[in-house]
């Protein structure tokens, strides 16, 4: 039981369409994409504040307890195992947003680059080339989970 109400989870506005595409092709829901990106960003040690480019993407209520547990763990680890941070769920989500923002950048650099095209407001999936993308991303996530974090 965590202390949070409904929080709007934001992503960089340029990733709006990419989140929609990934939800259609690879993941079941936005929170899964967001979590994956946050985990990749955290492992890569990269964190990019959203600033004014933040754009509401989904409600935090869809985030699963396990995912939340991981976000809290990130915050606890980042703050040298101080659990006071757990009290401010919004702050926890903001930290996750920054890691997810950087994580999407890593994802684009390392794997998604060849499956996206520029869609005007940001990258979008090139649907003609992403038949096997779910498997490619799964393999990428799994392989990455076996490697040492940066």
């Amino acid at each position: 039981m965590y202390l949070f109400g409904e929080i709007r989870v934001r992503t960089d506005e340029k990733y709006k369409q990419l989140y929609n595409d990934l939800k259609n092709f690879v993941f079941r829901d936005m929170h899964e994409i967001f979590f994956t990106c946050a985990a990749i960003g955290y492992r890569s040690g990269r964190r990019i504040p959203l600033g004014k480019r933040g754009d509401d993407r989904f409600w935090s209520s869809t985030i699963t307890p396990y995912e939340f547990a991981m976000f809290y763990s990130i915050v606890a680890e980042t703050e040298d195992m101080n659990y006071q941070g757990l009290l401010d769920t919004k702050a926890v989500v903001e930290v996750a947003e920054e890691y997810a923002n950087a994580g999407m950048e890593v994802l684009l650099e390392e794997i998604l680059g060849e499956y996206v095209i520029e869609g005007g407001n940001g990258p979008i999936l090139d649907q003609g080339s992403c038949d096997e993308l779910p498997k490619i991303i799964l393999a990428y996530i799994y392989d990455k989970s076996l490697s040492e974090p940066n």
Binding site: M1, Y2, L3, F25, V26, F27, R28, D29, H31, E32, I33, F35, T36, A39, I40, Y42, R43, P65, Y66, E67, F68, A69, M70, Y72, S73, I74, A76, E77, M81, Y83, Q84, L86, L87, D131, E132, P134, K135, I137, L138, A139, I141, Y142, K144, S145, P149
Partner: protein, 681 residues
């Protein structure tokens, strides 16, 4: 004819110039050319046939389109095509015949044009040296053809220069085969000339009959009219028989062609069935892949949890350690400490001084204890992480399983696609062929053949009746002429012509029958020379039947061809070929012709091979044997060496560029080489 040498220049597998000198001494008359399959033995046989007769196709190429047969060496063509130059390919054969020396060179020009080989004749030159050393040169193809065919006619050449295919075909009792043998026998015996004389005599007989008919009266005139009518009917009947036979032959050939097409289609039909099966499997595989991709959609998110496995473990262990240390949940509640601090009195009643050591410790203690909310949250986190950690293994296993399954399906898909592509290449355009249409057509041909056979039978019976009638009419006319005492000059001449015709026909029939018997007898002698002991006990003689098919008789004189083995059939063919060659040489015991045999041992037993290599050198003036490493082994080589007739040995070996090189060696070295090769294999 004695072959002296053959020089190949950029011909088939033979790049550059390569020479074979044939042994032709009286006592050393055997040359062995040895090579593995595909190294060019048949290329040498082909070169000889090409040089002597300008013939590109061999009997084994029956189903190959001549335009697909290329004689110019392909490596040389590729080399020269880069320079845009044509390649000259030639074969030069030197031989002796009836005290004259001959050198025949036939050339081709080849060029590679956008991957397509274009070949054209580039001349022929025959140089002849007579006994006095005078030289004459012939370059006109017709003159060269005439000269060569006089030495060895095309009807006979296949009985001196032959390959395994020819041997195989010889004992088949097909119309074509029978005609081929009949032509060879007629050519051998010069029956053509006799038949021309018979034809001319028949014309003369008809002339006399017409003249006599004009002067005849009464019953004699009536009989002569009947005779003329009978003659005309016989002629018509003969023409009909010829025509039916031609039609039959065409129908049979057509049936063979249709069968070939059907065979091809049947092969394709099998391939089409395999293709359908592969396509179904490919579809299943693709569906399996799609199922996996759909399943992956539900797995990517949970699998991402694994990315933070270390973080989750660290945090879990940290909380766990703090739990173990009873830091959480804390033993003393924070509100109790707050009350002690506000009342400045311990629960034991002792007063606490501000800024005292006890006060500082209580303050420090208070700061270390999380508030209730944080503590609850931390414990919640501990429980969730504990549960998440339990899931990691399942998630990981699911990811591995699904990725492995996908990889397997992907491999299956690639393999199936590769097989399908191969099948598509094999099936090609003939897929469009309509098997049912061909089947119907074949049925039509079968009916036509049956109808023609029926017509042939009726016409033949009609002809037999006409011949009977003719004989009766001749007797009746003769009787009347005798009774009426008609003995004028015209009648006498007519009689003479008629008697000549009967005599000539009898000579023709007797001569061919005798030749057939003689050929059979000679073939039987050769047969007994080379048959193995077991076969000799059962197989007694070869007979050339009236229809020119070859038959073998068993010891009880019964036809036995249908029961002999493939090897015995080959031996029988070789014996018959030797008998034909003997007849071609005027019945001499020793053939003044080379026997050029390409791969003749294919199906022969050891004993047959041994007999063959021991006997053939003594049958003919020259034996050139082209043999593979599988049919001419240590055993055969030793047997041949024992005859004392073998001198030269040529090995056909592969060069790095795939062309063939001819090495000459002696018999002694050959024996070592073959023995070594046998051990190596």
């Amino acid at each position: 004819m004695i072959l002296k040498s053959i020089l190949l220049e950029n011909f088939r597998q033979f790049k550059g110039e390569q020479l074979i000198e044939f042994d032709s001494d009286k006592n050393k008359n055997v040359t062995v050319i040895f090579g593995e399959n595909g190294r060019g033995k048949t290329g040498i046989f082909r070169a000889l046939m090409f040089c002597l007769y300008g013939k590109k196709k061999l009997s084994q190429d029956a189903s190959v389109d001549e335009s697909e047969l290329h004689l110019v060496n392909s490596q040389e063509l590729e080399d020269k095509s880069n320079e845009g130059k044509p390649v000259e390919s030639s074969v030069t054969v030197e031989f002796e015949h009836e005290n004259r020396k001959y050198k025949l060179k036939r050339s081709l020009l080849g060029i590679l044009d956008e991957g397509r080989v274009i070949e054209q004749n580039h001349g022929v030159k025959l140089t002849i040296w007579d006994e006095e050393g005078n030289t004459s040169i012939k370059k006109a193809p017709e003159l060269v053809k005439e000269r060569i065919e006089n030495i060895l006619s095309p009807a006979l050449r296949e009985y001196f220069l032959f390959d395994g295919e020819k041997i195989e075909r010889l004992t088949r009792a097909s119309t074509e085969q029978r005609r081929e043998i009949s032509q060879a026998i007629r050519k051998l015996l010069n029956i053509d000339t006799l038949e021309k004389v018979i034809g001319a005599t028949m014309k003369l007989s008809r002339y006399f009959n017409r003249e006599l008919e004009k002067k005849a009266t009464g019953e004699r005139a009536a009989i002569m009219r009947l005779q003329r009518k009978n003659e005309e009917e016989i002629e018509t009947g003969n023409r009909e028989v010829d025509s039916i036979n031609r039609e039959l032959e065409l129908a049979r050939k057509e049936k063979i062609e249709v069968d070939k097409e059907l065979e091809q289609i049947r092969e394709i039909q099998d391939l089409l069935t395999i293709r359908t099966d592969l396509e179904v499997r490919l579809k299943d595989t693709e569906e399996g892949k799609n199922d996996i991709l759909r399943a992956v959609k539900g797995l990517a998110g949970p699998t991402a949890l694994l990315l933070l496995r270390n973080t989750a473990n660290n945090v879990f262990q940290n909380i766990d350690r703090r739990k173990q240390a009873h830091e959480i949940p804390s033993d003393i509640r924070k509100d109790l400490i707050d009350r002690i601090l506000s009342e400045m009195e311990c629960i034991c009643g002792r007063k606490i001084e501000e800024n005292s050591e006890a006060y500082s410790r209580i303050l420090e203690w208070r700061n270390r204890i999380p508030d209730n909310v944080t503590e609850d949250l931390t414990l919640n986190l501990w429980r969730d992480l504990s549960s998440a950690r339990d899931q990691f293994e399942n998630i990981e296993e699911s990811a591995i399983q699904i990725l492995t399954k996908f990889a397997t399906l992907k491999n299956d898909q690639r393999e199936l696609e590769r097989k399908l592509e191969e099948l598509r290449m094999k099936i090609g355009s003939s897929e469009r062929a309509d098997a049912s249409r061909l089947d119907a057509h074949r049925l039509g041909i079968d009916r036509k053949i049956l109808k023609l056979q029926h017509e042939l039978s009726i016409t033949s019976k009609k002809l037999d009746a006409l011949h009977d009638e003719r004989r009766q009419l001749t007797v009746r006319r003769k009787t009347i002429e005798d009774e009426e005492g008609i003995r004028d000059e015209l009648t006498r001449r007519g009689d003479l012509v008629e008697q000549s015709l009967v005599a000539l026909n009898r000579i023709h029939d007797d001569f061919t029958a005798e030749s057939r018997v003689s050929l059979g007898d000679n073939a039987s002698v050769y047969l007994s020379d080379i048959l193995d002991e077991e076969s000799r006990r059962n197989l007694k003689s070869i007979r050339v039947e009236e229809d020119y098919s070859i038959q073998i008789h068993d010891r009880w004189g019964k036809p036995f061809l249908a029961n002999i083995s493939a090897g015995q059939r080959q031996i029988m063919s070789i014996a018959f070929i030797a008998a034909l060659a003997k007849a071609a040489c005027g019945g001499l015991d020793f053939l003044e012709m080379p026997l050029f045999m390409d791969t003749p041992f294919g199906r022969l037993s050891h004993e047959h091979r041994k007999n063959l290599v021991q006997k053939v050198p003594h049958w003919c003036s020259q034996w050139i044997l082209l043999a593979t490493d599988t049919e001419f082994r240590d055993f055969e080589a030793q047997a041949l060496a024992k005859t004392g007739t073998w001198k030269s040995f040529y090995i056909l070996s592969a060069r790095k560029d795939g062309s063939t090189e001819i090495h000459k060696t002696t018999m002694e070295d050959a024996l070592g080489y073959i023995c070594q090769k046998g051990k190596g294999d």
